[in-house]
């Protein structure tokens, strides 16, 4: 009997101490983690939509996903950005796609973390900067073609052919969604002041 009481007491005390510690840590960590995620998206948007200043941001929601419409301080539309994902060689690849205001040209793309492609091979789609750079300004009114398709719009990386193709496929697959979301969602929300 005494033993049972002691058992319950010890486990209860331990549970309370553990729960308390975890709540305390969660209070401290969660805002920081959320902030990092927001910053990594902001940072990526800034890289794919090159402008002197992105002053305002409008978030268009479609199918539970967010398309970011960015404006400069004069109120001119700079472009749209969308975080797309799709299967790569090893695991999912996340790409921030930047579209010019005409919705027909890529403003830029950025391969985001976490990238789990093969180190030293597929990983090159991120580490070799020219690969992402070559997408800038490409016409996407029709699907992009990547070598060995001809005529090719973009080059694949030697040793990372499949990952390169995956990136192109993810971009091609998501452009229609972005266009659709922008058309359906435009005007539904006033531009909001970004903090």
């Amino acid at each position: 009997m005494k033993n049972n009481l002691q058992m319950i007491a010890v486990l209860t005390l331990l549970g309370v101490a553990s729960g308390g510690g975890l709540v305390f840590m969660a209070r401290y960590a969660e805002p920081l983690i959320a902030q990092h995620q927001e910053e990594s998206i902001k940072e990526a948007v800034r890289q794919v939509l090159p402008a002197f200043d992105l002053a305002r941001e409008k978030i268009i929601k479609a199918d539970g996903q967010k398309v970011y419409a960015e404006y400069d301080d004069q109120g001119n539309l700079v472009g749209y950005a969308f975080k797309a994902e799709g299967p790569g060689f090893q695991d999912k690849i996340f790409i921030m796609i930047g579209l010019a205001p005409d919705l027909e040209h890529l403003a830029g793309i950025k391969i985001m973390d976490p990238l789990k492609e093969t180190p030293g091979l597929g990983e090159k789609i991120k580490s070799e900067a020219w690969f992402q750079e070559q997408f800038r300004g490409k016409d996407v009114s029709r699907p992009l073609k990547i070598k060995p398709e001809r005529p090719a719009d973009v080059d694949a990386i030697t040793g990372a052919t499949i990952s390169s193709q995956a990136v192109t496929r993810i971009i091609n697959g998501n452009i229609p969604f972005i266009k659709e979301a922008v058309k359906r969602g435009s005007g539904s929300e006033a531009p909001e002041q970004s903090p």
Binding site: L22, M25, A26, E30, P87, D91
Partner: protein
């Protein structure tokens, strides 16, 4: 992509492409410890598959039906490990009373499974990959069978190895790890088949 197709991809992904042992390095301890005899390896593999499938089912329910609605995600690890430990105990008691045949075959491997990182790894990856309930179950079965396949191959090789002249320093863990490396190299041939 159809729902069934997605399930097939999850299965192949868990069993071959991202094999728990050879790509994620999970369950290395039993992989080295219980791979001397084919019979033992098969028993261990089946016990792990069984517990993995159950774990996927139960931890999915706990995470998405209890922890998320109550905003208790920070209890994830504590909850998962307690669930796994109790699950293994319950399975052991149930088998001993109700299915003694199966208990005799798998019983001795069950206690070893609580600290098998493949089980907790399965629950963690399931959350990371945002699997739906059917996908989580298929992930559990695929992961378990992938583990079974890896440990069976290893046991087959090690039974032959007894007649080989392995340098003394490498006997046991050393040569097992090196063979595992060669197996991992072979399994890399599977990567890419779900991407295309």
């Amino acid at each position: 992509m159809g729902e069934i197709q997605k399930l097939v991809l999850v299965f192949i992904g868990a069993a071959l492409v991202n094999n728990f042992v050879l790509t994620y390095f999970l369950g290395i301890c039993p992989f080295i410890g219980v791979s001397r005899r084919l019979g033992d390896a098969l028993g261990m593999g089946l016990a792990v598959t069984f517990v993995m499938t159950l774990t996927a089912t139960v931890t999915w329910a706990i995470y998405y039906l209890i922890l998320i609605p109550l905003h208790l995600e920070f209890l994830e690890y504590v909850a998962f490990i307690l669930v796994i430990a109790s699950l293994v105990q319950i399975v052991e008691m149930f088998l001993r009373r109700s299915v003694p045949g199966l208990y005799r075959a798998l019983g001795i491997y069950l206690p070893l499974i609580t600290t098998n990182c493949a089980i907790l790894g399965l629950a963690l990856f399931m959350v990371l990959k945002n699997y739906t309930f059917p996908q989580a179950i298929v992930f559990g079965i695929g992961g378990g069978l992938g583990f079974t396949l890896a440990i069976l191959i290893m046991a087959g090789i090690r039974e032959e190895l007894e007649y080989a002249d392995v340098p003394e320093a490498l006997r046991g863990a050393g040569i097992t790890l090196i063979i595992a490396g060669l197996l991992a190299l072979a399994f890399m041939g599977f990567s890419g088949i779900i991407g295309g």
